[in-house]
């Protein structure tokens, strides 16, 4: 395995027709309690600068009259102001408008209610609120999680954010499930911030724990629940020792898919609630889900009490079509390898032989005809009786796909591979079937760890990442 020196991958990702059409500067006044909502295409760049007053982007306050504008690209966002503000806008947004009716007061109330619980928890030394946010797709779950996180950080807390939505990554690529404690501000431009890089980062980095799920929906496979169990274990262990995070508790973002339910049964939600001992459940948008949830959790003993709270969906939530989501995922993958904006990274290209990699392909539920018993989450169900992975040799089919390098050894049992966290991702740039060689894009120059590598069907191929 060698590093190819000549293949000098440009650290600047090729720009997709970023032709600035109109770059006229304009200002926008926001009265107190209003929200400026905007959508920016991936091919455009939009600059926002706070001229006066206070403003926040999903809870994170914008820097006051800083020299540099915030840059947005491929963003559907909103800037809210509690006190009124004046913004300077440069560039072209796909849509933009000023909204006077927002849900921010409710969301802030949610934060203050959590703060009360945190203060109590700090006094008696218990774990702070354990929050799960559920709701259908595009109800603003991730935005709510972000607002709650930002406010908690602002109040000096250090909440752990758990992402159980594989459709979009938090601090990692799509298809992954992550957990990270937030002690510094949530980045405005990059979504959540950045995982550590080998140099100083002007964006406060977060240290995520990453698992690879490899499928698009929690309902798809049989490894979602075991992974949730595993993550709950890790997060709980962390909280046991990390006093700051223990007081702040954690906030779980979920996939819209878990909220669909089957005939009134929400087995994944229940699984998450029981594994993480969730005691605050925010239901966004869906009346029916709220009703189902409050019915289920209203009669619990006090020590297992789950407060089910309904929050209205913000009028700013827009449906993100599959095309947008795909672009968003591509952008996240690109940003994993190449960084973002000024913070450019230099991934390395490796050429490896087929037999140097130990790739385990995830067997999807649809492919294996096993009867799946809902509600039974004993490990035996996923045990050796059913194959989780099949070992595959590289093939041209793998081109443009993303591989997850786990921390598990090659000869470990499949459950161990399933439950192990991820070291990082590599991208199959090219497959040469005649020479039995792969060209890989790796974040690092060193040799690729000889661990078990998982290939899932999600995220989808990312063609043109290295072109």
């Amino acid at each position: 395995m060698t590093t190819l020196p000549g293949l000098n991958l440009s650290s600047i990702p090729p720009e997709t027709l970023a032709t600035p059409l109109t770059l006229q500067t304009r200002t926008q006044d926001l009265p107190a309690g209003t929200e400026y909502r905007f959508e920016v295409a991936f091919s455009r760049t939009f600059f926002i600068r706070l001229l006066s007053g206070t403003a926040e982007f999903f809870g994170t306050e914008l820097a006051p009259s800083s020299k540099d504008s915030y840059t947005f690209s491929g963003t559907k966002g909103a800037i809210y102001t509690w006190h009124g503000c004046k913004l300077e806008l440069v560039g072209e947004a796909e849509s933009e408008y000023l909204a006077e009716e927002t849900m921010m007061m409710s969301y802030a109330n949610a934060h203050f209610a959590l703060e009360n619980l945190r203060e109590k928890a700090a006094q008696v030394g218990e774990t702070g609120p354990r929050v799960l946010v559920v709701g259908p797709e595009n109800a603003g779950k991730t935005s709510l999680v972000k607002i709650l996180t930002s406010y908690a950080v602002k109040a000096g807390r250090q909440p752990v954010v758990v992402n159980l939505d594989p459709r979009q990554g938090i601090l990692s690529v799509p298809g992954s499930l992550t957990a990270a404690a937030f002690s510094s501000i949530v980045d405005v431009e990059e979504g959540w911030g950045s995982s550590p890089i080998s140099g100083p980062s002007p964006i406060p980095v977060k240290m995520p724990l990453v698992y690879h799920y490899g499928l698009g929906s929690p309902e798809d496979g049989k490894i979602f629940k075991p992974l949730v169990t595993r993550m709950a274990l890790a997060v709980t262990s962390r909280l046991e020792e990390d006093k700051l995070s223990k007081q702040a508790g954690f906030i779980i973002d979920s996939s819209g898919a878990v909220s669909h339910g089957k005939a009134g049964l929400y087995e994944n939600i229940e699984h998450i609630i029981s594994e993480f001992s969730v005691n605050a459940l925010f239901v966004l948008g869906s009346e029916r889900l709220f009703s189902d949830m409050s019915r289920k959790y209203s009669n619990r003993p006090p020590d297992e009490k789950v407060s089910v709270v309904r929050l209205d969906k913000s009028g700013g939530c827009v449906d993100r079509d599959e095309n947008y989501m795909k672009q968003l995922r591509q952008a996240q993958i690109r940003s994993y390898f190449f960084g973002n904006g000024e913070n450019a990274l230099n991934p390395a290209t490796h050429s490896v032989d087929y037999d140097e990699l130990n790739i385990f392909r995830l067997i999807e539920a649809s492919q294996v005809n096993t009867s799946f018993r809902p509600g039974d989450d004993d490990d035996d169900v996923y045990g050796s009786s059913n194959e989780l992975f099949e070992k595959v040799t590289p093939s041209p089919m793998m081109q443009n796909s993303l591989l997850a390098i786990t921390t598990a050894g090659v000869n470990e049992r499949q459950e161990v591979i399933r439950d192990s966290s991820v070291l990082g991702y590599i991208y199959v740039a090219d497959v040469d079937d005649t020479k039995k060689k792969l060209r890989l894009l790796s974040p690092q120059t060193g040799r690729i760890p000889p661990n078990a590598i998982i290939l899932g069907s999600f995220p989808e191929d990312a063609p043109g990442l290295v072109s």
């Binding site: 306050e61 007061m105 501000i185 080998s198 709270v309």
Partner: protein, 691 residues
């Protein structure tokens, strides 16, 4: 990474050759070259040194400015390379310069003793031992110059010494005007006063003792305050004092490491300031004069500095004189007691309690550590107490009374001088005469200073406890609260509950907890901090972090994404806030994981030698991976040790050496130790903490 060092150095040299005037763009251009080629820092540094040594004298100063710009803007590794030969570089140039350029060079040197402006890094640009050598050499040099001048001129006052650069006063290019007794009448003209104290008082002598407590700005009292109370020989006294000071300086220059002389000099300067900024009652002046006559120094080592004139204020500081070898020891001991006895002010009871002067302590603190309002926990400014604690045996022999008076006298002197002009109303009775002790304790505004001083002295066991006039009531300094005052909560009741109904209720009053509770906002990223001292400190660290990570050369450095940490590491990991409260909460695990870390936290800087860069670890044959280490502020190989010129993985080496029974070198190879930030435990094994 790109060009070999020789080429870069040659380019740099070419650019240097063109630098013939103090041209800002050219200097910053050269700085940028240096900054972008830190991997060739050694070659560049050598080139710069050579250039400074070989170029024509009039072109040396711009080159020195380049050096200055590089060490301040780039820092390591240049400070290391350039620091090595700084003495030669500097002194060789200095000896060839004309006086004007020398002044500029001394100005440079002065800034090197201080931290880089606007950096939170408290360490000086160059380490103290580098600058001290130069400083000592300069002092010797000046002394010679003075002596020569003194010989050629009959009056010793006209010394044309090299400049003593003072950052906060514009350099006055004229030689110090001789204090003219006939011309000078103590008047209310502030201009007169402005140059008086400082044209004569070179306070910035030596790098070892703290900066002078008397920057000129804080000692220019409002004119209305000045009292031309007496004309008895005040000017003469002053000029005499100047002479004594000059003589002491010369004495000190001969033995720069002599601490007592340093202290004495400082005391003299302080008293000179007091004398010049205050009007003293005639009685006191006369007394001082008498004492000074008794104290009058015999001919000093430097011939022309032997004025037979008495010196007033040094009397107060006379304890130090005993320890002053260069100072004529003959008559000091007997003066001491007398001096103290006489120091008791036979002053009419002045009715000036309205003068609300800030205390001496406050003044001292203001001048020594201007950004430190919370230093109250240390009630005694160290340099101030030093002279007293260093006071030799006579002190215990004193009776309480004279010592009280000494303290009081000092305090009184300093009170009016310390008064900030703005806060002072034109005093109706413009006779700020020293007050008697009882009065001092009776007058609340002034008590603080006198008492503070007394307490300070007592704490040093100089003052017997019986001599203290009163209980320390109302000292504004010690009572200043250090505790965190009021947490973030603003006292608004938070009644939000986790119910759907409660979510709908508007609670605008709570929003202040997100904003007003943290009024101290970072302008770069919008993060908010409390207005408490802790909050300020956190913000300062935070700003420092912004500064650290703002490196425009990042892209060239080959930054890449790190691997994620493993489950176990994550569980043990503690977030590192860029503005940590005190010690980041890593304490518990840090201790537990300490043994493991010792080996793995060894690192070496990524070598510049091409052969070494590509050499794998000789034991495991795996290559090293450069990582950015915040502490070293450079790229390093973690988990590495250098043994006999080869670089091994520290863990490999440990295993190997354990087998072979060789002791592993345990130190991180750190030529950069000087610039190392405060040592903090590295997060988790070899993972580099980056933000």
């Amino acid at each position: 990474m790109s060009l070999p060092s020789a080429e870069v150095a040659a380019d740099f040299k070419d650019a240097l050759q063109d630098l013939k005037i103090n041209s800002r763009p050219e200097i910053s251009n050269l700085t940028i070259i240096a900054k972008e080629n830190t991997e060739h820092a050694q070659a560049i540094s050598r080139e710069l040194e050579n250039h400074i040594r070989t170029t024509r004298p009039e072109w040396k100063l711009p080159a020195l400015y380049v050096l200055d710009s590089i060490v301040k803007n780039v820092g390591t590794p240049y400070t290391v390379y350039l620091g090595r030969n700084l003495y030669r570089t500097f002194m060789d140039a200095y000896s060839l310069m004309d006086p004007g350029t020398r002044k500029a060079m001394e100005g440079l040197l002065k800034t090197w003793k201080q931290p880089v402006p606007e950096s939170m890094d408290p360490r000086p640009v160059f380490s103290a031992d580098v600058t001290r050598d130069i400083e000592n050499a300069l002092i010797k040099y000046r002394t010679v110059a003075i002596q020569q001048q003194a010989l050629s001129q009959k009056q010793g006052m006209q010394y044309n010494m090299p400049a003593r650069p003072m950052p906060n006063t514009p350099w006055r290019n004229t030689p110090t005007p001789p204090l003219n007794a006939t011309r000078y009448t103590p008047s209310n003209d502030p201009r007169v006063r402005q140059f008086q104290p400082f044209s004569q008082a070179p306070p910035s002598y030596g790098g070892q003792y703290p900066p002078p407590a008397t920057p000129p700005t804080s000692f220019q009292p409002p004119a209305s305050y000045q009292q031309p109370s007496s004309s008895i020989d005040l000017d003469k006294l002053k000029s005499d004092l100047d002479k004594i000071i000059t003589a002491t300086q010369a004495a000190w220059a001969l033995t720069p490491s002599d601490v007592p002389i340093q202290q004495k000099l400082k005391a003299l300067l302080d008293l000179q300031t007091i004398l010049k900024t205050q009007a003293l009652p005639p009685e006191q002046l006369r007394q001082i004069q008498i004492q000074v006559q008794q104290l009058s120094p015999p001919p000093l080592p430097i011939p022309s500095y032997a004025p037979p004139v008495p010196v007033p204020p040094p009397a107060i500081q006379s304890p130090q004189q005993q320890a002053t070898p260069a100072f004529p020891p003959a008559n000091t001991p007997l003066d001491l007691a007398q001096l103290f006895a006489n120091a008791r002010p036979p002053v009419p009871p002045a009715s000036t309690p309205t003068v609300s002067a800030p205390s001496l302590a406050e003044m001292l603190r203001r001048t020594t550590s201007p950004m430190q309002p919370t230093a109250t926990s240390a009630p005694i400014p160290p340099f101030f107490s030093a002279p007293y604690s260093a006071a030799p045996p006579p002190a215990p022999a004193l009776t309480p009374t004279p010592t009280n008076n000494l303290a009081q006298l000092l305090a009184q002197f300093s009170q009016p001088a310390a008064a900030p002009p703005v806060s002072r109303p034109p005093p109706p009775q413009n006779t700020p005469l020293p007050q008697l002790l009882p009065q001092a304790s009776a007058a609340p505004p002034t008590v603080g200073s006198a008492e503070w001083l007394l307490n300070a002295l007592k704490a040093q066991n100089v003052l017997p406890a019986a001599g203290t006039p009163s209980a320390p009531q109302g000292t504004p300094l010690s009572s200043e609260p250090m505790t965190r005052q009021g947490s973030a909560t603003t006292g608004v009741q938070n009644d939000a509950e986790l119910t759907t109904a409660s979510m709908k209720k508007p609670r605008f009053n709570l929003i202040s907890r997100l904003y007003e509770a943290f009024p101290n906002q970072c302008v770069t990223c919008g993060r908010r901090f409390e207005s408490t001292p802790q909050g300020k400190e956190r913000k300062a660290r935070h700003m420092d972090w912004h500064f650290k990570v703002k490196d425009p050369d990042l892209a060239k450095r080959g930054i890449h994404r790190s691997w994620y940490i493993s489950e176990k590491e994550w569980i043990e990991y503690r977030e590192v806030d860029e503005a940590p409260p005190e010690q980041a909460s890593n304490g518990a695990t840090g201790a537990a994981a300490a043994p493991k870390k010792e080996t793995r936290d060894n690192y070496v800087l990524v070598p510049t030698d091409a052969a070494l860069v590509h050499a794998p670890c000789p034991i495991c044959q795996e290559k090293f991976e450069p990582q950015w280490l915040v502490e070293a502020n450079d790229f390093v190989w973690m988990d590495a040790v250098k043994v006999n010129g080869k670089i091994y993985h520290a863990t490999c080496w440990e295993e190997y050496s354990r087998g072979a029974g060789i002791a592993a070198p345990s130190t991180p190879d750190s030529v950069l130790g000087k610039r190392k930030a405060e040592v903090s435990p590295i997060g988790s094994g070899k993972k580099v903490r980056a933000y």
